[in-house]
């Protein structure tokens, strides 16, 4: 279990001071695939480097299983890193790279070679053991970097955008592989990425970061379906934002009178069931078509564009108040798209699906 407790990091000083982490607190559980997700410059890599020990936090504490990490140099932390550009040692073979950590821990030779063999097998690189790192492909370098970091059996594996240098197909394959390795080894993975799809597909939990702060921590489902803030909703997937006023609210849900006309029953953010003007987030696939201006329709509008995307069809609509709305329908073999550009349609949003955002 990693506890990050009120960690701040300020680079530089005076006018040039830059806050990379602003009072960040989060707890990463044992054996968890935990992802730090955010745009570049949001502080996610700084947080990772703080856990690894390459950055000393300006304020706050980092603890691993209750033990303070901040006072330990990187080479005394039971934590290993997979670097963005792998940082493999060019003067060593694949096997020597993988064995380096164990060698530095002064493990006996027999143990090193058997662990290296095991690791080579785990990442399917046995045939390449004697190669130099410059003689293997990017995807293979990626595997070696993983094996090198896993070989000393760290308590935590830190991964700094390790898939960003790979092409799409390799990346997909490695995503599955990473998840498998995490299951097989039982090591806590802390994964940094700016790719929301990657985060959703692999993580047990995601922390969405922006401007040096963690905005929301939750399972991929929670983050996607119930974003707490506009930034989270916008950064992950596509979202429609509807402005309205809460007219009636209980513990979890509230009724919102939309400015575009109609009412919607939406989930309220935890702890802040505030009244007044709010923003409601609706995913494109959470809405369906119905007859315009009927009792079923939450809002109505006209179709401005239709994009066929194979598995589904994407509709760009213009609501009656002039705001855009995106709607996605899954294609089935027997249905054909009936709505055409210029048609007036109604949009139905089931109660309790949309999410009211914190403002």
């Amino acid at each position: 279990m990693i506890e990050i407790d009120g960690v701040s990091k300020v680079f530089g000083s005076g006018v040039q001071a830059f806050t990379a982490l602003d009072n960040v607190s989060v707890t990463i559980r044992e054996n968890e695939f935990f992802t730090l997700l955010g745009p570049s410059g949001c502080g996610k890599t700084t947080l990772l480097r703080t856990i690894a020990g390459f950055n000393a936090p300006t304020n706050g504490a980092v603890r691993l299983d209750g033990q303070d990490l901040v006072s330990l140099p990187p080479y005394k932390r039971p934590v290993n890193t997979v670097f963005q550009n792998y940082a493999l040692f060019p003067h060593m073979t694949v096997a020597e790279n993988i064995g380096f950590g164990l060698e530095m821990l002064n493990r006996p030779k027999a143990e090193i070679s058997s662990t290296v063999d095991q690791m080579l097998d785990l990442v399917q690189m046995t045939a390449m053991a004697g190669r130099r790192t410059s003689e293997i492909s990017g995807g293979q370098q990626q595997r070696v970097a993983l094996a090198r970091a896993l070989a000393p059996r760290p308590k935590v594996l830190l991964l700094d955008e390790p898939l960003s240098a790979l092409d799409y197909k390799l990346r997909k394959g490695m995503q599955v592989e990473l998840k498998r390795l995490q299951n097989e080894t039982g090591i806590t993975f802390v994964f940094v990425t700016h790719d929301q799809e990657e985060a959703l597909s692999m993580s047990d939990r995601i922390a969405v970061m922006n401007h040096a702060q963690i905005l929301q921590v939750g399972s991929p489902h929670e983050i996607y379906e119930h974003p707490s803030e506009r930034f989270v909703a916008e950064f992950i997937g596509e979202t429609n934002f509807l402005i309205g006023t809460v007219t009636q609210a209980d513990e979890t849900q509230g009724s919102v009178a939309l400015d575009a006309g109609g009412n919607i029953v939406a989930r309220l953010p935890q702890g802040e069931g505030g009244m007044g003007q709010v923003t409601v987030a609706v995913r494109p696939e959470q809405a369906t078509f119905c007859a315009p201006d009927s009792g079923e329709a939450t809002v109505s509008g006209t179709v401005s564009n239709v994009v066929y995307l194979g598995t589904d069809t994407h509709f760009h609509l213009t609501l009656d108040d002039g705001n855009p709305f995106a709607l996605r329908l899954q294609n089935t073999p027997d249905n054909s798209v009936q709505q055409k550009v210029g048609d007036r349609i109604g949009i139905a949003i089931a109660p309790g699906v949309a999410q009211v955002l914190k403002d």
Binding site: P73, T81, F83, A87, F89, H91, F100, M104, R132
Partner: protein
């Protein structure tokens, strides 16, 4: 199969040789030419007043390693020559090692400065190069002579009662050569450190290597090509150094360069001088081959 019947015109067939000829001409005339003359002279007879007499003789080569006693004509080992060979080699080797010990941290320091500062630091390394070698050597003399800056300071501070004899020793020659050749060590090491990916240092730290082991297992092996290049650049001129041992060694502590000069000057034995020059060439070549092989063994296949 058009190629088989098509004959390229003369100009096309030989154009690359024609274009290369100026460079080849300079290479043969300026590099191999003098060397060839030196080789021929080493097999001629010495003239009475310098120069050579055109008759074949192996006396010069004989005299490189052996000498005839002035009085009883018995044959003995030319131990004076051997002592000079040994001193040259030893001083050049020590200079190279000390230059590496000082040069590597200097290069490391510069390579880890912000990019904008690096050029300024490199400029400071290069500035002494712009001054005449003789002037710089006399400056070192001024520092280490008995009444010089170092001794005066130490005596004024009461550390020593009488000056330490530093000038006209092997130490003086070593210090002089170190000062003169240090930039030649710093430059190639800096070049390889500048290309060095410092993420490798982080990776090694992360994998439980302490500072010393990071240096020993990662930084030094990866920058080895620069270290080899720097060592060669220092070792070769140090082996043949002439001005520095002449000024700081006081003429008594000769190195090979001085011995060769002596044969062409006062000694009036050009063939012996030529033979000694070839011996120097062989020592340099042999030690370089040995060094590159020994250093390249561990990290073979890259660089």
């Amino acid at each position: 199969m058009a190629d088989a019947t098509y004959t390229r015109p003369f100009s096309e067939r030989y154009s690359h040789w024609i274009l290369l000829s100026p460079a080849l001409l300079i290479l043969f005339v300026a590099a191999f030419g003098p060397l060839f003359i030196v080789l021929i002279y080493s097999f001629l007879t010495a003239g009475d007043y310098g120069g050579v007499v055109w008759s074949f003789s192996t006396d010069a080569w004989f005299n490189v390693f052996a000498e005839r006693d002035m009085f009883d004509d018995t044959l003995g080992f030319a131990d004076a020559h051997l002592a000079i060979f040994w001193r040259s080699f030893r001083l050049a080797a020590v200079t190279t090692v000390v230059a590496l010990i000082f040069g590597f941290p200097t290069a490391y320091f510069i390579a880890t400065r912000p990019p904008k500062q690096r050029n300024l630091w490199m400029l400071l390394i290069m500035v002494p190069f712009w001054t005449n070698l003789l002037i710089r050597t006399f400056a070192i003399m001024e520092l280490i002579r008995n009444e010089g800056v170092v001794n005066s300071l130490l005596m004024a501070m009461g550390v020593i009662n009488e000056p330490i004899q530093m000038l006209y020793t092997d130490f003086a020659i070593m210090i002089g050569m170190l000062y003169v050749y240090l930039p030649l060590m710093v430059l190639p090491i800096y070049a390889s450190l500048e290309r060095f990916d410092f993420a490798l240092v982080e990776a090694a730290y992360d994998l439980y290597a302490n500072r010393l082991r990071v240096l020993w297992r990662v930084i030094l092996p990866v920058t080895k090509p620069g270290i080899i290049a720097g060592s060669i650049l220092v070792m070769i001129p140090a082996l043949g150094a002439y001005v520095t041992p002449r000024v700081l060694g006081g003429g008594k502590r000769m190195m090979l360069g001085n011995l060769i000069e002596l044969q062409f000057g006062q000694g009036r034995n050009w063939p012996l001088g030529a033979a000694l020059a070839i011996v120097l060439l062989i020592i340099v070549t042999a030690s370089m081959i040995y060094y590159v092989r020994a250093a390249g063994k561990e990290g073979a296949g890259h660089g």
